[in-house]
């Protein structure tokens, strides 16, 4: 079964109306409500943009710009759609503008990406992993990051929205302004590429 929609704070949205309610409060002048929205979506958004741009500082600056745009246009948010769909649509347009303005070079997200290992969050089963487990998990995360980063830009954004943000196909089509069929086709092709890239990891 398909997931119910884009992620909120890295987990499937339990209460999809929460964001919409915060938007209403923000429109009434409650800045705290908007702050809650920023805190909730900052990490997934910044990392999504980072994977588009490949530069940490540029991603942080762009995310800040996106949140300010979101605030200024809160009044045009349509609560029939998820807040995350709207947020990532604005972010997607901002990233495209950024590319047009600055021709941002993309680079790998491994150790040369400018982020320290301390910044990396590793999903390791168990509460007390051994150094060997930590090392292997880091290598795995790094391999996957690199494989995703090597995808053509038009595939990368779609695969991240689908598998990282858990957006539905129709939401991705809305965010990227692409026909639904194109979204499905590109995600399929992106998975094929990733399966090829990570073939040695995928050996059962």
């Amino acid at each position: 079964m398909e997931p119910t929609g884009c992620l909120v704070s890295g987990r499937p949205a339990a209460l999809p109306t929460d964001d919409a309610a915060l938007v209403v409060q923000a429109l009434r002048g409650d800045r705290g409500a908007f702050e809650t929205l920023v805190r909730r979506h900052r990490r997934p958004l910044v990392n999504h943009l980072y994977r588009q741009i490949g530069q940490r500082e540029a991603a942080l600056d762009l995310a800040q710009e996106v949140f300010l745009k979101v605030y200024q246009s809160l009044g045009s948010y349509d609560p029939r759609y998820r807040f995350t769909t709207w947020l990532y649509r604005i972010a997607s347009n901002a990233a495209i503008d950024q590319f047009r303005r600055r021709h941002v070079p993309t680079c790998g997200l491994g150790a040369d990406g400018g982020d320290s290992n301390e910044d990396r969050v590793l999903a390791i089963a168990g509460s007390d992993p051994s150094p060997d487990q930590i090392l292997r998990a880091r290598e795995l995360a790094s391999r996957i990051d690199r494989a995703v980063q090597r995808l053509p830009a038009e595939f990368r954004q779609l695969i991240l929205l689908r598998h990282r943000q858990h957006c539905r196909y129709d939401e991705i089509a809305r965010i990227t302004d692409l026909p639904l069929g194109t979204v499905k086709n590109r995600i399929f092709r992106a998975r094929e590429i990733l399966r090829g890239e990570l073939a040695d990891l995928l050996e059962p």
Binding site: E2, L68, S73, G75, I144, R164, Y169
Partner: protein
């Protein structure tokens, strides 16, 4: 092209939990008899798992990021977008204007007579109000009654020429209701802004 090749897209969707029920059935039947596709299926599931579980969020975002945004926000709250409401008002006004010429061509009264004969007194009364045959102002409940009561009777109307005007009448009534509710919504939002 082999069956496996033809089913590649469906099998990929099935592995990722995105297949429609009929596609799932096709995929499950094929997987039951194809070892190669079962292996590919396992790889596809594994890819989905590691993309979701093992991929890191490499950039940490601290509270300073939030503080910078909050400091940069304009002092005044964002304004509500009223373009959609304005479009509704314009549409409603146009629809309501459609009522005006109908008052002068007599079809409202003819339809009122027909509705009275058919046992629809509320609709007949509302039509007569619009035709100007009755002097009181129609109440919102009457307008709504006209739409709810009268529109389903369109198919029973014996004269084809009057069907379209009656539809326009219903459209006009809905338009009036939309205008009324939009104006009320505007007034309420202005009051809440104030």
């Amino acid at each position: 092209m082999s069956v496996c090749d033809r089913l590649r897209v469906i099998l990929d969707r099935f592995a990722n939990g995105e297949a429609a029920p009929d596609e799932s059935l096709v995929a499950a039947r094929h997987l039951a008899e194809c070892t190669a596709c079962r292996i590919r299926q396992a790889r596809a599931r594994w890819l989905a798992e590691i993309l979701e579980r093992e991929m890191s969020d490499p950039v940490a975002v601290d509270d300073e990021f939030v503080d910078r945004i909050m400091r940069a926000l304009p002092a005044t709250p964002p304004r509500r977008d009223r373009r959609a409401a304005l479009r509704l008002v314009r549409l409603g006004a146009v629809a309501a204007l459609a009522l005006l010429p109908m008052r002068h061509i007599g079809f409202l009264e003819r339809n009122a007579d027909f509705c009275r004969q058919e046992g629809l007194p509320a609709t007949a009364s509302s039509l007569r109000l619009f035709a100007g045959a009755e002097s009181s102002i129609p109440a919102p409940a009457q307008l709504l009654g006209l739409v709810v009561d009268g529109v389903p009777q369109l198919a029973r109307m014996p004269w084809a020429l009057d069907l379209l005007p009656l539809l326009a009448l219903a459209f006009g009534v809905i338009g009036l209701l939309v205008v009324g509710s939009s104006v009320a919504g505007f007034a309420l939002s202005r009051l809440s802004d104030a």
